[in-house]
Symmetry: D2
Subunit: 143 residues, 4 copies
Amino acid sequence: MPSTSLVRQLMQFMTKERGFDTVMKGLRVVSAGNGNCVCELTVTEDEQNRGGSLHGGMTATLVDVVSTCALMTTERQVAGVSVDMNITYMKGAKVGSEIVIDAKTLRCGSTLAFLSVDITHKADGTFVAQGRHTKFIGSKSSK
Amino acid sequence: MPSTSLVRQLMQFMTKERGFDTVMKGLRVVSAGNGNCVCELTVTEDEQNRGGSLHGGMTATLVDVVSTCALMTTERQVAGVSVDMNITYMKGAKVGSEIVIDAKTLRCGSTLAFLSVDITHKADGTFVAQGRHTKFIGSKSSK
Amino acid sequence: MPSTSLVRQLMQFMTKERGFDTVMKGLRVVSAGNGNCVCELTVTEDEQNRGGSLHGGMTATLVDVVSTCALMTTERQVAGVSVDMNITYMKGAKVGSEIVIDAKTLRCGSTLAFLSVDITHKADGTFVAQGRHTKFIGSKSSK
Amino acid sequence: MPSTSLVRQLMQFMTKERGFDTVMKGLRVVSAGNGNCVCELTVTEDEQNRGGSLHGGMTATLVDVVSTCALMTTERQVAGVSVDMNITYMKGAKVGSEIVIDAKTLRCGSTLAFLSVDITHKADGTFVAQGRHTKFIGSKSSK
């Protein structure tokens, strides 16, 4: 699957450069293609909140970035611009735990794309969080 | 207003420590108290996305952190645990631009607290984003 | 303000016709114009849930319809098509209570419009719910 | 599966009574049990918006009601109270079309339950909408 190695290279490039994407440096791309992208992360102190668990802002950033990677593997091959994003936090993920971030493209229209992301504990499959992300992919620069 | 200096000290403490809150290092607390918190940020390369604007994950983290600071200035004085968060992205904020993050407590019940956050351009008051954040503040450890 | 009477007429027309908008028959348009719309509703048994309070689906419909009325009073004068909507439920509204639905246009771009809705108890101003609504207003028929 | 007939009876009871749940009168319960509930609806003029498609408020009400039915088939057997709900609208559903509403319990904690709902076209499985619903199921009367 060529998409997986492509997204993997992209992620390496993004997280070496300066910018907020460097917070994704621990993310491992497991598979990518056909509008889907699956990544894994071992939660470390760099992603923790004051309680020693995955920070809610980091969870939101995972929803944003992994769904964007999924979108880039559709026929449109665009990153788009965020319109709406929501996250439901169901269970904490302590430092040291392994989580799976599974993003799917629900629909890719001419102007808007719709993506869904499940974040689960690798150990037992229970939900850490679920998010949804709507992106503008129209040709115009302005929404 | 004693709350402002308290939240300011807390923010300094949080961003010096290891953890994801260090991404907030550029945040300036303007005022805090009575369930409200106003902060400012000059967008730098550290918070940018690939397009040179404020990263959507950083925007989400601002909604999370500044609303939590607002919640800590209510009578309950708790940080709580995130339940639901949503963000609507309306306009980009380029590197170098000044943004205002204005968080309000809409309601603080016995088990749940509800917060709203406006992120605007300081120059003209136009919206960058708006978010809402529901937090669990019950006494039980588990949601 | 001519917009108020226009939106009032529109609402009367909509709720007489067949269609789901007939659930809005009790809605009173207080004012409308410049991207804003304020309505009032006395909760009756027609809008109640099994617990004798305003039904969550009716609350969501109020967010949808009143924000759309607000959008129709902008320069664009369009109803648009829903993209994303969210509602945070803070407090019940019993049958007999009066509620205020206050919708504002946060931003009206070329393709997307962003609206926010506060639903409060008329008696004391406390929040029943808050919602946000993103609508597609582009010229193309398909999102 | 006894749960299916139980939820079917409940739905019949709810939609005969006075109250907003009567808008669900066309809903057919296909299966229910173990925290899941699948229903079908043929869109009629009663559920339509001004454009002759499923009304966004009705879509939101479907997310609300069918996810609540799913929750009632968990071990907790409670209806709960809405905390947060979001809906992403992906594609219209014209009058006459058949739609499937598929609700799942993502997690049922001691105080909060988290549900997800897919609404798809029966003909081709494409998404009409996707929603998420957080409900308070704690023993206290107040959130």
